[in-house]
């Protein structure tokens, strides 16, 4: 797998950073389906995606891929709390995107997002509402509740 070709192919401003745990790439404006196609073509497997609340109501979504045993972590930023879905490119994303929608109400455009873990009556975002700085002003500050 030619890792060096990937940043330019997905429009990442910089290159890979090799850390002790994985290869990391910051690609805030990347198009996730294009990223998925490039990595799938190189034989990679989608491990999972991690969403975290960021500033201005946006979210940082890390796409974790396995490429020949190497963990490749590519961080993308949402646009209007939304990203294009990659489920049509790799079905492995199906439940992952649904779970992130349950947690943070991040929308993945181009697909339906039926609730995975939400109870009847819960709105999308209910599971992770306290993780959103705009909802929990006093929110998490690293202090422990008990």
């Amino acid at each position: 797998m030619d890792l060096d070709a990937i940043p330019s192919a997905i429009g990442a401003p910089g290159g890979w950073e090799k850390r002790p745990d994985a290869w990391w790439l910051e690609a805030p404006r990347a198009d996730p389906p294009a990223l998925a196609r490039v990595l799938l073509e190189a034989g990679a497997r989608l491990v999972t995606m991690t969403a975290s609340a960021g500033p201005d109501g946006e979210f940082r979504v890390i796409y974790h891929w396995d490429g020949e045993g190497r963990l490749l972590n590519v961080a993308v930023t949402t646009r209007g709390a939304a990203l294009p879905s990659v489920a049509a490119v790799t079905p492995a994303a199906d439940w992952i995107e649904r779970e992130i929608h349950d947690y943070f109400a991040v929308r993945f455009a181009g697909r339906d997002l039926p609730p995975l873990f939400l109870a009847p009556g819960d709105a999308p975002g209910a599971l992770g509402r306290d993780l959103r700085p705009d909802v929990a002003a006093e929110g998490k500050d690293g202090k422990v509740e008990g």
Binding site: P20, D21, V47, E68, G69, R70, L71, A92, G142
Partner: protein, 358 residues
């Protein structure tokens, strides 16, 4: 005429917090939808409100079967963040506990599979052997489920007499080879019940990112212990069993052969246990940053992401369990199956609802 059969959560064939809606025509399943919204526990949310030491104990409760692998993988992510080296003896002890956990998990699964097949004698033989494996873990840790063996930077307890544990592992291996393996691998009734049902092609397994024995039974040679060795796995000799049929029988065979390999790993690790400390400093400061870690749980790849802000609690904890990946594939496996085969097909991925609804 088509109709829908709900399987679970209150059903003799699925006593778990899950419902599978099966669209049937006669006795043939045409489609399935899996519903999970019964027992979501919010462990990630809780972990972000505990300090790092409390979070290790909490995360060990993600699963009641592979509890150790969760605590170990979480600790490994924190060790990466903190730049902490784990002593060699602790790496060996972690491997021993992880592989003993694989023994209890696979024996639990073989027992449950036997029970679903209606093979009660085999079920009793598997569970009797599993009890002995759990006795070993109890002897090591004082606990039969949540062992509490991991801490950031090492382990909490030593293995004082590796030779005694090794002797018991050899006895477990002998019993498995004598009483369990021949039935699952050679018995015509078991084969007739399992062969040709719940087929998952290699292409589908790859497309959906299947992991663990489920992937390996479909010819996908994926095992984190080999692909990205951690702890002491890189220094030990073991083989990753692979089958290509992709049916329930292939998943049975992979787990049985894997069980034999696990005994071999335990024998090696216990026979080459290095000396030295069990852990580094008692309190480890976790600096700001983010890290990931992966381990091979009994059901497949277990993934953790941890972000820290330099405070006493994590900023973000993400847990991806192997069952979360494999469970959607059941819908594909049961398509075209006979309704009566669905409980066994579902069980063949060794689904863990506790992990999935963490």
């Amino acid at each position: 005429m088509s109709y829908t059969v709900p399987l679970g959560p209150y059903h003799p064939a699925l006593e778990e917090p899950c419902r599978i809606d099966l669209d049937c025509e006669g006795e043939t399943v045409r489609g399935a939808e899996i519903r999970l919204k019964f027992n979501f526990r919010g462990v990630e949310w809780l972990a972000e409100r505990k300090n790092f030491i409390q979070a290790v104990a909490l995360i060990e409760r993600v699963c009641g079967i592979c509890s150790n692998v969760h605590a170990m993988t979480f600790c490994r992510a924190l060790e990466t963040l903190a730049g902490v080296d784990v002593p060699e003896r602790a790496r060996h002890i972690r491997l021993v506990v992880a592989e003993l956990e694989r023994v209890t998990s696979h024996l639990l699964w073989t027992g449950l599979a036997a029970e679903i097949m209606g093979f009660q004698t085999l079920f009793m033989a598997c569970f009797a052997l599993r009890e002995r494996a759990m006795d070993v873990l109890e002897g090591l840790s004082g606990n039969r489920v949540n062992y509490g063996m991991n801490r950031v930077g090492g382990v909490t307890r030593d293995i004082a007499d590796p030779g005694a544990i090794r002797s018991e592992v050899l006895r477990l291996r002998e019993e498995t080879l004598k009483k369990i393996a021949p039935v699952f691998l050679d018995d015509r009734t078991v084969r007739a019940r399992c062969a040709g049902i719940g087929v998952l092609s290699g292409d589908l397994a790859r497309a959906w990112g299947a992991v663990g024995p489920t992937a390996r039974a479909s010819g996908v040679p994926q095992d984190i212990r080999k692909a990205a060795p951690y702890e002491a796995y890189g220094r030990l000799d073991f083989h990753v069993p692979l089958e290509t049929a992709g049916d329930v029988n292939a998943r049975v065979v992979v787990r049985l052969l894997e069980l034999i390999e696990t005994y071999g790993l335990l024998e090696q690790a216990l026979g080459t246990m290095p000396g030295g400390p069990l852990a580094g400093p008692e309190f480890v400061e976790i600096p700001a940053g983010e890290a990931t870690a992966r381990s091979e749980a009994p059901r497949g790849e277990c993934f953790y992401y941890v972000a820290a802000g330099g405070a006493e609690a994590p900023l973000r904890v993400k847990i991806r369990t192997p069952s979360f990946v494999n469970m959607p594939l059941v819908a594909a496996m049961v398509r075209g199956a006979n309704l009566a085969d669905v409980p066994l097909i579902n069980a063949s991925i060794d689904p863990c609802y506790s992990c999935t609804c963490r």
